[in-house]
C-alpha cells in the first residue's frame, strides 16, 4: 500500500565523498517496503518541479534509509537538511527484486550509489539465512561508503576504477575474476550505471544466469501517470513497445529489456 506522508529526518550524514545517508521515521512506508522499491521526495520548488526518486536502502520497522549522491539542485538541497526537519515522501513505489531461494549463489553487484537498493536486498537475503555475495565498484577510495554498511557481509568485494581501494578495475571485471570459484546456479541482482548494467546483461545472457537489474530514468511522476520513464522491451519486433521504470520496474530481468535504447 502506497502512502504519501510527511516524515521526520532522524539522521542525514555524509558516508563518503558527496554521498549521504538519510534516515527517516516513516512507519507507513517502512513496514511494507521491499528491496528494489523506491520513494519519491517532493520539494516545495516551482523551478524544478519533478519529485526525485530514491531507492529504499533499508527499512526496519519505523525507519527508512536512503543513500544518495549529490549530483544536482535537489540532492544539494537535501545534503543541507537538518535532523528534525520534515520531508514529504511517497512510497513504496515500483516492483521489487525477487529472490529464488533454490538458487545457489546470490550475487549482488552495485556500481557507485547503485549500492543503495542492494544493501536492503542483502539484509533481506541474510534474514532468509542465505549468505549473498556482494560486489561493489566505485571510482576511487573517497567514494566508498563507510565500512559499517557491509560489516555483516562475509562475502564482500570492493573494487575501484583507480585501484585506490580493493580490486583495480570495474566491478564487472572483479566479478569475472571470481567467477571460476563460483559453482552451480547464479542469480545476479544489480544496480549501477547503464554501462555496467549492459555488460552484466550480456554476461548473464551468455551464461544463462538469472539477472535482475534496477533501472534509473528521469521521472516526472514516479506513478505511471506521465509515461515518461520508458525502457524498451527486448524484442525483435520494431514496434515492441516500452515498459515504465516507475511502474513495471525499476527492477527488470535483463533479458526482457533493451540497453542503450
Amino acid at each position: 500500500m502506497r502512502h504519501l506522508t510527511e516524515t521526520i529526518i532522524l539522521e542525514n550524514n555524509a558516508v563518503a565523498k558527496n554521498i549521504f545517508r538519510m534516515t527517516l521515521k516513516c512507519p507507513e512506508i517502512s513496514r511494507s517496503a521491499q528491496p528494489g522499491q523506491f520513494v519519491n521526495i517532493y520539494f516545495s520548488d516551482q523551478i524544478h518541479i519533478f519529485p526525485r526518486p530514491f531507492s529504499i536502502a533499508g527499512a526496519t520497522d519505523e525507519i527508512l534509509n536512503l543513500i544518495y549522491r549529490v549530483v544536482g539542485v535537489q540532492t544539494s538541497q537535501m545534503a543541507g537538511w537538518k535532523i528534525g526537519q520534515t520531508v514529504k515522501i511517497l512510497g513504496p513505489l515500483g516492483n521489487q527484486f525477487t529472490v529464488d531461494a533454490s538458487v545457489d549463489n546470490h550475487v549482488l553487484i552495485g556500481g557507485g550509489v547503485g549500492v543503495a537498493p542492494l544493501i536492503f536486498l542483502a539484509d533481506k537475503i541474510l534474514q532468509g539465512g542465505i549468505e549473498p555475495q556482494f560486489f561493489l565498484g566505485v571510482k576511487n577510495r573517497d567514494e566508498m561508503p563507510d565500512g559499517k554498511f557491509f560489516r555483516q557481509l562475509q562475502d564482500f568485494h570492493a573494487s575501484s576504477d583507480d585501484g585506490s581501494i580493493g580490486f583495480h578495475g570495474t566491478v564487472v571485471d572483479n566479478f569475472l575474476s571470481h567467477l571460476p570459484g563460483i559453482k552451480k546456479s547464479v542469480a545476479i541482482y544489480a544496480c549501477g550505471p547503464e554501462k555496467m548494467n549492459a555488460a552484466l546483461a550480456q554476461l548473464a545472457g551468455e551464461r544463462r544466469y538469472d539477472c535482475q537489474i534496477s533501472f534509473e530514468r528521469l521521472m516526472a511522476c514516479g506513478l505511471g501517470l506521465c509515461q515518461g520513464c520508458t525502457v524498451k522491451k527486448n524484442s525483435t519486433d520494431a514496434e515492441a513497445g516500452y515498459l515504465l521504470v516507475c511502474k513495471d520496474g525499476p527492477v527488470f530481468h535483463s533479458d526482457r529489456v533493451m540497453f542503450n535504447d
Binding site: M1, L4, I49, A220, G224, L225, G228, E239, Y242
Partner: protein, 304 residues
Amino acid sequence: MIDLTTQIGLKLQLKNPVLTASGTFGYGDELADLIDLNRFGGIVTKSLTLHPRAGNPSPRITETTAGMINSIGLANIGVDAFIEQKSELLSHLPGKVIVNIAGRTEDEYADTLKKLESQEWIAGYEMNVSCPNVREGGIEFGAKPEILNHIVGRIRDLTNRFLMIKLSPNVTDIRVLAEVCQKRSADAVSMINTVYGAAIDIKTRKPLVNTVIGGLSGPAIKPIAVANIYKTHRAVDIPIVGIGGISCGADVVEFLLAGASAVELGTVNFFNLNAVAEILEFLEEYCVAQGIGVVTELVGKVKV
C-alpha cells in the same frame, strides 16, 4: 456552503469545475489507492487511439524552468483494451468520465469514437487535435480551419454526447479555430494543449526529448493559457475548459475570471497529489471571502 456545480454547455454537468487533464492522470485508475478520485468534477483520460501505440523512444520528458517538456507520442493501450480493462472502475466513479480521443486520420478518430459509443458510462469526449509530438495526426488537424471544420463536423455527426475540442496555442489565432468548433456544434473547446518547446543538453549536445521539439507544460505556461482563454471567451459563445500551468486554487480562480467554465489539472498531478483537495478548499474560501454563492458567477468576470 458554496455551490460548485458547473454546467458545461447543455450536456455536461459537473459537481465541481476541476477535471484532470489528458495524459497526466493515466486512465483515471492509476491513483485510486492514493487520492480520492471522487473529488474531481471529472476525469479526462489519456488520449486513446484505435490501435495501441507504443509511443516515442527515450528520452520522453525533461524538466525546464518551472515546467517540463514531453514527447510521449500518444502512447496508449488502444480503445479496445481501454474498454475491456478500465470500464469497471471508471463506470463506478461519481465524477464524470470524459474520454480523450486522437488519431492519425479522420477515419481513426471516427472509428475510435464509434467503439466508445457502446459504453454508456462515458459522459463525453475530448478530441485531441493539438498534440505537438506525433508525426501524423496531432496538431495538423487543429492548426488549419478547413481541416478542423471537416473533422469536427464528421465526429459531431457520430455522437450526441458532450463533445469538446482541445485546441493548441501554437497557432496565429486560436479564436478562428474555436469559431470553427462552435459552428460545427461542438459543445465546448478546451485549451491549451502544450506549447512547442525544446531543450538541449549542452554536455552531450543531444536534445532532451527524442523529437527535439516537444510540448511545454507546467507553471511556466500559465500566462499563455490565460491569454488564450481570455481572447477566445470574447470570441465564442460555447464554454471553454481551461488548461495550462494550473498549480493552485488561485490559478483556478484566475482561469475562471478569464473565461473558463471549468479547468483541467495537468502537470501539477506530478508534483502535488493533493492539488485537487487544496483547490476545492481554496475555491470555497475565495467565494466566501468575495461574497459569492455560486462558483459559476466568476466565469469571465475579469474587470476590463
